[in-house]
Amino acid sequence: MSAPYAKLPGWADYGLIPLINLIVAFAVAGIVVLLVGENPLRAAVILVEGAFGGGQNIAYTLFYATNFIFTGLAVAVAFHCGLFNIGGEGQAYVGGLGVVAVALTLDGTFPWWVNFPLAILGSALAGALWALIPAFLQAKRGSHIVITTIMFNFIAASLMVYLLVDVLKPAGSMAPQTRTFLEGAHLPKLNWMLDAIGLPVRSAPLNVSFLLALVAAFVVWLIIWRTRLGYEIRTQGHSPKAARYAGIGEARIIIITMMISGALAGMMALNPIMGDQHRLQLDFVTGAGFVGIAVALMGRSHPAGIVPAAILFGMLYQGGAELAFEMPAISRDMIVIIQGLVILFAGALENLFRPTVQSIFASFTSTTPAVPATPGERA
């Protein structure tokens, strides 16, 4: 089959087209704001000020961004292998079990810097195990990973409700949540970093898991582009046939990729549980697993794109909270619309503006005819 579209220069492919798609997504969101009877430009100003107008706001924005870096990386790693992991939500939710397994047993024994690495391992392991069954079914039995991961999101939700209501809830308590952790399972805040550059923070949940997220982004880049495993993952994603021909074990790569993806999603649980709430609550993931899809699509599955995309969504979450305060008609659900529109325009309709952009580029370079086909080459 012929490729539907010709090639563009790299900066246009990775910069210009995503930017156009993003602008269109926000323009459509602006129409929704108009329908609600508010001024979209004023809404945008409030949003940006709410997200970046001071140390406090920036700290919150980065706190939310931490979640989205993890889930965005999780979706991206699977994308590189040609797999669509919609199960980030469930994997992150179950990842919370790994965190509390460490926190509830060791919070009185060790200081945070011992518990943190253990909790990282616990959450990554729990998330990876939750991704293992769909991965195994895809690799060995050919069950579609999209469907199984969706099913596993629902199964995770039921499982966690059961565990929180019937098992983990301390006796005599009504709220479905674990007990509050002791000091040994509280992650230190990073507010001093913003204080140091002259942006005072009163109190914000930004904590060391933000740094962990940045490290994870670097490690993902390292794995995907600088290791043999990453090469195999990308080969499998580009052409399963070529991978099989090259002797790459298909089942092995699918399972390993999904477990990395699940581990990254699971690590997201560290940020809200150990960094902010200090207990495991119902629905603590609050859709971050799904935001990861939008983040990965916007960031073109590259860590260098995912981190800014995650910060953009962090801005929407934090600024959206301020916006809901200023314009009561626009609640936080506006973010869900924007998220959907970003997924639509940056993901499903990514080719919508490509032909136009290509013809504009062609008109610039029309003085030199594009790829003259010599008769010899055709033969």
Binding site: M1, S2, P4, V32, L35, V36, G37, F84, I86, I133, L137, R141, G142, S143, H144, V146, I147, T148, I150, M151, F152, F154, I155, S158, L159, V161, Y162, V165, D166, F290, I293, L297, A329, I330, S331, D333, M334, I335, V336, I337, I338, Q339, G340, L341, I343, L344, G347, A348, L349, E350, N351, L352
Partner: protein, 323 residues
């Protein structure tokens, strides 16, 4: 006769609970049989429910609500169609996007237009699809067994319930006994062959997603105007995904789809009925396990332990004409 009465009650609520699943499942059947995967059933159903609730509240007529629901769901289905047929985008991504847009937009618009916390105003009378009583239902009520089955189980549902069950043989007839159905199935298996025969792949698939839009609109209307008295935010609550599971469970065939939806509806009715009370032999089953059962069953099916579910061959792949 106590057990029998309970059974009738559970089966009656099974019918009520499986209708939205059935409509959404048949909706997905048209689309997926034509080679367009549709994860966005949930979103289209939700948008349809909101549109019907809003339109019925403003106009006072359930029929206007139904029309609005179909219009909105077909529009979303066409967006999905445009993304996956014309624009050759990723069908899964597009479906996910539609779910989010619907989830957010229904709450934002509902709050802005009606200011009732995302609900639409409560409907009464002509604003809803009320219960229809089949002829002689009242007279036959006292006949043992048959009377119960006829007047409780079969009679007294809304028009949309009968429509949903009518759609099962109708869909079977369309898919397996008409020219359109043959072509629809062919385009999902081998679009190149359909194209070679001189039939437009794109137009066939667009018609299939329009069918999907119509049926999800009816499913949403059922939720908002028959099962409830107005739209409540997130009222689909994962039903679109259970319908998707039922579709796989039924291996993309209309009559098994009905049985799969009835099974999942029965599990739902049973978990509401039991509410954690112990079962004989098994002991106490957590409510959450019953709620998760449709998903677990689907995963087991997908794993190939109960037969094998083979999706339409061209599903999820955008069609590119050879050049």
């Amino acid at each position: 006769m106590d057990f029998f009465n309970v059974l009738i009650l559970v089966l009656d609520s099974t019918v009520r609970l499986s209708v939205p699943l059935l409509l959404a499942c048949l909706a997905g059947l048209y689309s997926e049989r034509s080679g367009i995967f549709d994860i966005g059933l949930e979103g289209k159903m939700l948008a349809g429910a909101f549109a019907s609730g809003a339109a019925a509240a403003v106009s006072g007529s359930a029929w206007v609500g139904l029309a609005a629901a179909i219009l909105v769901s077909v529009f979303l289905a066409l967006v999905h169609g445009f993304a996956s047929i014309t624009s050759r985008g990723n069908q899964i991504v597009s479906g996910v996007a539609i779910n989010f847009v619907a989830a957010g937009a229904t709450i934002i618009l509902g709050q802005a237009w009606f200011s009732q916390g995302g609900r639409t105003p409560l409907l009464t009378g002509d604003g809803r699809f009320g219960a229809l009583n089949l002829p002689f239902a009242a007279e036959l009520r006292d006949v043992p067994i048959i009377g119960q089955i006829y007047s409780e189980l079969l009679s007294g549902h809304s028009l949309l319930v009968y429509f949903a069950f009518f759609m099962v043989p109708f869909t079977w007839w369309v898919l397996f006994r008409t020219r359109f159905g043959l072509r629809l199935r062919a385009v999902g298996e081998n679009p190149a062959a359909v194209d070679t025969a001189g039939i437009s792949v794109a137009w066939l698939r667009y018609r299939a997603v329009i069918c999907t839009g119509i049926l999800t609109g009816v499913a949403g209307t059922y939720l908002a105007l028959a099962q409830n008295a107005g739209f409540v935010k997130d009222m689909t609550a994962g039903k679109g995904f259970i319908a998707l599971a039922a579709l796989i469970f039924a291996k993309w065939r209309p009559v098994p789809a009905m049985f799969a939806c009835l099974l999942f509806g029965f599990l739902d009715a049973l978990s509401i009925r039991l509410q954690g009370s112990p079962l004989p032999l098994i002991g106490k089953v957590p409510v959450q396990f019953m709620q998760a059962l449709p998903y677990i069953l689907t995963v087991i099916l997908l794993a190939g332990f109960i037969g094998k579910a083979i999706p339409p061959r061209a599903g999820g792949v955008p069609y590119v004409k050879e050049r």
